[in-house]
């Protein structure tokens, strides 16, 4: 097991948002985290990367144990070194060029030499098809392009796992495809990914496993195929149906 989280709990203002989540990730897994709005998907990812401090829980990463509540600065740095995070709103550094967005973490975070960082950055940007825009600023890019740069920024540190929090939700429909294509390519290359998404096509066809959450708890988890074709829980069934219906509605409106 590459990564395992146990008993992740989190409350906001006394309201429980995560009620003890367990999660296992094998190397090469692409896990889609599904669930209705407010079920705690974002909070779970954020806790795993210490963007949010869990109230309790532990993380075992490459056999090393971390306390999600009481981790030290050093622990957090160690975990973040092996992970990357892709946000819904890209969160690119707006005062930096595409190239600088990718090199900044390498030169300042990882203390890499400028030339080496540049080389790695260019290679990462090539992987997402953005090497032709090195000197552009984020404001000069489309949302899809910005998200691809954000993915390149994550790739640059050579992470063992990438967390995606609804990477296509902020995008215009016609731009979603280019980002999903990059993610699919990463999946094909064997990258381990944890993806919060509402893209059922991606969950069904690209992800190898599904984790379905509701109300801060895992309702069902397992291989994608089985989840979609034969969900074990009534709630999962209802969720899949509601998504398909919503999509059907969208289609008939077009």
């Amino acid at each position: 097991m590459m990564l395992e989280a146990r008993g992740v709990r989190k409350s906001f203002d006394g309201r429980e948002v995560l009620g003890g989540i367990d999660l296992q990730v094998e190397k090469g897994d692409v896990i889609a985290i599904l669930g209705p709005s407010g079920s705690g998907k974002t909070t779970l990812l954020r806790c795993l990367n210490f963007l949010e401090r869990a109230d309790a829980g532990e993380l075992v990463f490459d056999g090393e144990r971390f306390d999600l509540h009481a981790a030290t600065r050093r622990d957090i740095a160690r975990v973040r070194k092996k992970t990357a995070f892709v946000f819904q709103n890209y969160n690119l550094f707006l005062n930096k060029t595409v190239l600088q967005n990718v090199t900044l973490g390498l030169t300042l975070g990882a203390k890499m030499k400028k030339d080496a960082a540049r080389e790695i950055a260019v290679r990462s940007l090539e992987r997402v098809g953005m090497a032709g825009r090195l000197d552009s600023y984020p404001s000069q890019l489309s949302g899809g392009q910005q998200q691809r740069v954000a993915i390149a920024r994550g790739l640059a540190s050579n992470p063992e796992i990438i967390y995606f929090d609804e990477p296509t939700s902020a995008l215009d429909p016609e731009l979603i495809g280019e980002v999903l294509a990059v993610m699919r390519q990463l999946a094909d290359e064997g990258m381990t990914m944890l993806v919060v998404t509402h893209e059922m096509e991606f969950a069904r066809n690209v992800s190898s496993k599904v984790l379905f959450m509701e109300g801060g708890a895992v309702v069902e988890s397992g291989p994608s195929r089985a989840f979609f074709e034969n969900p074990q829980e009534e709630r999962s069934h209802a969720f899949i149906r509601s998504i398909l219906e919503a999509r059907g509605g969208e289609r008939s409106q077009e």
Binding site: L51, R80, A84, N95, K96, L104, Y137, S139
Partner: protein, 224 residues
């Protein structure tokens, strides 16, 4: 205009300008430097939500914004000596102008910091950068650009405000005008003249502000 008045104004001009350049301008620059230092510190404390200090900062802003500048000046220069704190007029003016404008500028800087999305801070953490590194390379440059117009306006209003220092015996440009006027009784002419010199100073600053705004990196045209 009669010849006597014209002669007075021509005589007064180099004196006024001299005090403007030697006193008003340094007074403005020193006060503004102090104000900027205070503003950035106060804004950063509030932005980073440092516990006790944050309350101190709010208190400071509350006091400054809720009392007149003139009263603050008089309190420090005429009042504090009774409490054993004796300042010369010029340093007293620098301290009061600095702390006064600093409170307003702190709000501008804080607003500018808040306008930089927190997501960039989180993204920085995720790629292994420290809080300091992210502030220096990402947040502050963007905030500075956003705050620049407001800070320029503060500088201009401070330049004009230094005339109040005349009331605590600082011999600056305006006080010099009143001194000359005490000899020649030409209020309309002299005060118009000194107003025009202030106007010229402010026009130069406004022009520098525009130049600065153009010069500041535009990050590909985005207006933060």
């Amino acid at each position: 205009m009669n010849e006597r008045l014209w002669g007075i104004l021509v005589d007064a001009f180099p004196k006024l300008l001299g005090y403007g350049v030697r006193v008003t301008v340094p007074l403005t620059i020193l006060s503004f430097a102090l104000a900027l230092l205070i503003a950035v510190a106060v804004a950063l404390i509030q932005y980073a939500n440092v516990k006790v200090l944050r309350q101190v900062c709010r208190f400071y802003i509350w006091i400054i914004r809720g009392t007149p500048l003139l009263v603050q000046l008089w309190l420090v220069f005429y009042g504090l000596p009774s409490a054993g704190i004796l300042l010369d007029a010029f340093p007293a003016a620098v301290v009061v102008f600095g702390f006064n404008e600093g409170a307003y500028m702190a709000e501008s800087v804080r607003g500018a910091l808040e306008s930089v999305s927190r997501g960039q801070l989180e993204a920085g953490y995720c790629v292994g950068m420290s809080y300091m590194q992210i502030m220096v390379h990402v947040v502050l440059p963007q905030a500075f650009r956003t705050a620049f117009p407001a800070l320029s306006n503060s500088l201009i209003s401070m330049l004009k405000g230094t005339s109040l220092a005349s009331t605590i015996t600082v011999m600056e440009m305006f006080r010099q005008a009143t001194v000359i006027n005490g000899r020649v009784y030409e209020s309309l002419g002299l005060y118009t003249e000194v107003a025009l010199i202030y106007l010229a100073f402010c026009t130069i600053l406004t022009w520098l502000q525009r130049l600065g705004e153009k010069k500041l990196a535009s990050y590909g045209g985005v207006r933060a």
